[in-house]
């Protein structure tokens, strides 16, 4: 009887300790998960901001202004346009 009790006590102690460890592990992993999810949100935010920035740089009005002023591009008048029919035949 005494031996059984000692044995059960040992089992109990082992179980208790393993519960503590797994609980601790779970908490640690959870904190990690939280942190990673937070990071994911931050990246999403940054992605939105970058998209915003990109489309602000690429607004047609800005592109056109740069093309016209600093690059000196312009639309050719129709007198300077020669049409090539499909197939390239002259």
């Amino acid at each position: 009887m005494l031996r059984l009790n000692v044995f059960l006590l040992a089992v109990l102690v082992v179980c208790g300790l393993s519960l503590v460890t797994s609980r601790h592990q779970a908490r640690k992993l959870f904190v990690e998960l939280e942190r990673t999810q937070g990071e994911a949100r931050a990246f999403e935010t940054e992605y939105g901001q970058l998209q915003l920035e990109q489309s602000t740089w690429a607004t047609p009005a800005r592109v056109e202004k740069i093309a016209r002023t600093s690059l000196g591009l312009e639309l050719p008048p129709s007198s300077r346009v020669e049409m090539v029919p499909p197939g390239g035949a002259r």
Binding site: Q51, T59, P60, A61, S78, V81
Partner: protein
């Protein structure tokens, strides 16, 4: 109460009885003093009472104050956190972002509880980039609650919070940005403080775009870190992205040309719509005046109106093709039937209709080409009112175009039973009827297709959409041919021609109605389609009150049409259906002007 005393020397926990030192047991022994019985009773009673009080207290705590205590207990370790869900983006048909929500922070305080030292205030003003005086006005305001700064970039707010000012708090918010700025503000509308749609598409599509924040219960530790998820109370639902039919590039072209035209003509306002003929999608919709949705503080409501959808005007001659189409459908006239328009006036009862120029005998084709009011009125009067009404109604007049835009109007088309002959005659050339610009552009899809009216939509569709047949194909083609004549020399709008493409269209110059009388202010318009051999786009231009000397649609609106249509067709790489030197302008002074 009077337990026998243990023998002297006995150890209460002693394992082995040791030999106690002898100090003469018998000499110390005395009989226990006789205590009065009532003393024991008093002690017992006192203890029993104390126990009773404890029991009652615990019963009270367990039974009645349970809920309160449970709440207080969990408040020490459990928290309900909001899980944010951001609003969906709005993108154009190519996926270019038009509206994006991004997190920002607002700083707030209870002025009574705020405790900022003078150096802290100076630093705060520097971080917020505001003058110290205006900051002081907020911090010392006689209010319960103030926003110290709204919708700051998160980094700026973090720097302000890092100053460690007691009583300064931050609040997370979303702010919506519109990269296209003023070019597209009327369509998109904007959102309010809580990122909820207030105008335009943002309002109309609130259900689709809006996210629903979730919430979850968690356990936190002493430092406030979340250590465990207890339950998800509500799953967050992020807003969905929305693709519009708008093409940012065409929108830019439309806006640029419209703005230039309104400014050059010193006009009060203007609108421009580009429609895709096959799908009915609105590829561009520009309005002037406009506003910047990213900085709309103090902008008059007047500038925020999407005039192309929410305002109506009398269309003038742009309506004549529908009159002619109704007549062709009955078979009473043919494109080459001759109508006598001399002497350029037509008197119906007390009223007289005028042409700007006396044209004499014109064919039905020439009535459109020269835009003769008398000719259109004579043709209209040969028709039953119901027939004309049916054609106009089937072309979408008198009913809202159902684009899904909030506040769109349908214009006015009175029932035919109430038409008097003079009204039937004026409706023939677009007076006594009102339309909005999108409606007018959409109606022209019946000439751009072989007689089908396409549904106009602001949202992207996947491919061609079947329309509703309104006219027979031969009629639609015949009218399209007449519209092509109108933009050629001898027509009213040679300035609408586009190099490299055949175009077709109709001018409109309508006197504005103010109160009950027509004034000497005008609405100049042009609606046209191209390429005429296989139409792909309809462009409608409206210039309100041009004030720089010219007011004819052929002079004011047609050049805008030409610039926009040409650039749009090139942008969309539509194959040419004419040589690039196809534009033939009449010699100066020989142009044909119309009067409505």
């Amino acid at each position: 109460m009077s337990a026998p005393r243990p023998p002297e020397g006995a150890r209460p926990l002693g394992g082995k009885r040791r030999e106690a030192p002898h100090r003469g047991d018998h000499t110390r022994r005395a009989p226990p003093p006789a205590l009065p019985r009532f003393r024991a009773a008093i002690v017992f009673g006192a203890l029993a009472l104390a126990f009773g009080v404890l029991a009652a207290r615990s019963l009270w705590l367990q039974g009645f104050a349970h809920a309160f205590l449970q709440e207080q207990g969990s408040a020490r370790y459990s928290r309900e956190l909001e899980v944010p869900a951001h609003r969906g983006r709005i993108v154009d048909r190519l996926g270019e972002p038009l509206a994006i929500s991004t997190p920002v922070k607002s700083l707030w305080a209870f002025p009574a509880k705020l405790d900022a030292s003078p150096p802290q205030r100076v630093k705060l003003a520097a971080v917020l980039e505001t003058p110290a005086s205006s900051l002081a006005r907020k911090l010392d305001a006689d209010e319960d609650f103030v926003f110290v700064a709204r919708q700051l970039a998160p980094e700026v707010a973090d720097r302000a919070m890092a100053l460690g000012i007691a009583g300064l708090n931050e609040q997370h918010e979303y702010r919506r940005y519109y990269p296209a700025g003023e070019t597209m503000s009327h369509i998109l509308g904007f959102t309010g403080d809580r990122d909820v749609g207030q105008e335009g598409i943002e309002l109309a599509q609130q259900e689709w775009l809006g996210g629903h924040p979730g919430s979850r219960r968690v356990i936190i530790n002493r430092r406030g870190d979340v250590v465990e998820d207890v339950e998800a109370i509500r799953a967050p639902q992020a807003g969905r992205d929305l693709a519009l039919a708008i093409d940012t590039r065409l929108q830019h072209i439309a806006f640029r040309e419209l703005k230039a035209a309104v400014e050059a003509n010193k006009a009060k306002a203007g609108g421009l719509v580009i429609l895709d003929v096959r799908s009915g999608e609105i590829l561009a919709l520009a309005n002037w005046p406009t506003f910047n949705p990213n900085a709309r503080h103090g902008v008059a409501r007047e500038r925020m109106r999407n005039r192309a959808l929410t305002d109506v005007f009398e269309p003038g001659s742009t309506l004549k093709p529908f009159t002619i189409a109704a007549a062709l459908e009955t078979g009473r006239v043919r494109p080459d039937s001759v109508i006598q328009t001399a002497p350029g006036t037509l008197t119906i009862g007390p009223a007289t209709i005028h042409d700007a120029h006396v044209h004499g005998a014109l064919t039905v084709e020439q009535v459109i080409q020269k835009s003769s009011n008398v000719g259109a009125a004579k043709i209209a009067l040969s028709l039953p009112a119901e027939t004309m009404w049916h054609t106009l109604s089937d072309a979408g007049f008198g009913a809202a175009p159902k684009t899904g835009f909030p506040g769109e109007v349908g214009g006015r088309l009175r029932p035919p039973k109430t038409w008097r002959p003079i009204e039937q005659a004026t409706i023939a050339y677009g007076h006594g009827i009102s339309v909005n610009l999108v409606q007018l552009a959409r109606a022209y899809t019946v000439f751009a297709t072989d007689g089908e009216l396409k549904p106009a939509t602001l949202l992207k569709t996947s491919g061609p959409v079947a329309g509703r047949p309104v006219l027979s194909p031969p009629t639609a083609r015949a009218v399209r041919h007449m519209l092509e004549l109108a933009v050629q020399p001898g027509g009213t709008a040679p300035k609408a021609q586009v190099p490299g493409y055949r175009v077709a269209g109709k001018t409109g110059t309508a006197h504005k109605l103010e109160g009950r009388a027509y004034t000497h202010k005008f609405v100049s318009s042009f609606v046209g389609l191209a390429p005429a051999s296989a139409p792909q786009l309809v462009v409608a231009v409206m210039i309100d009150e041009p004030g720089a000397g010219q007011h004819y649609g052929g002079d004011v609106a047609a050049p805008v049409f030409s610039a926009v249509m040409g650039a749009a067709l090139r942008m969309l790489a539509v194959p040419n259906d004419a040589a690039v030197d196809n534009v033939i302008l009449p010699p100066p002074g020989s142009s044909v002007d119309e009067d409505t």
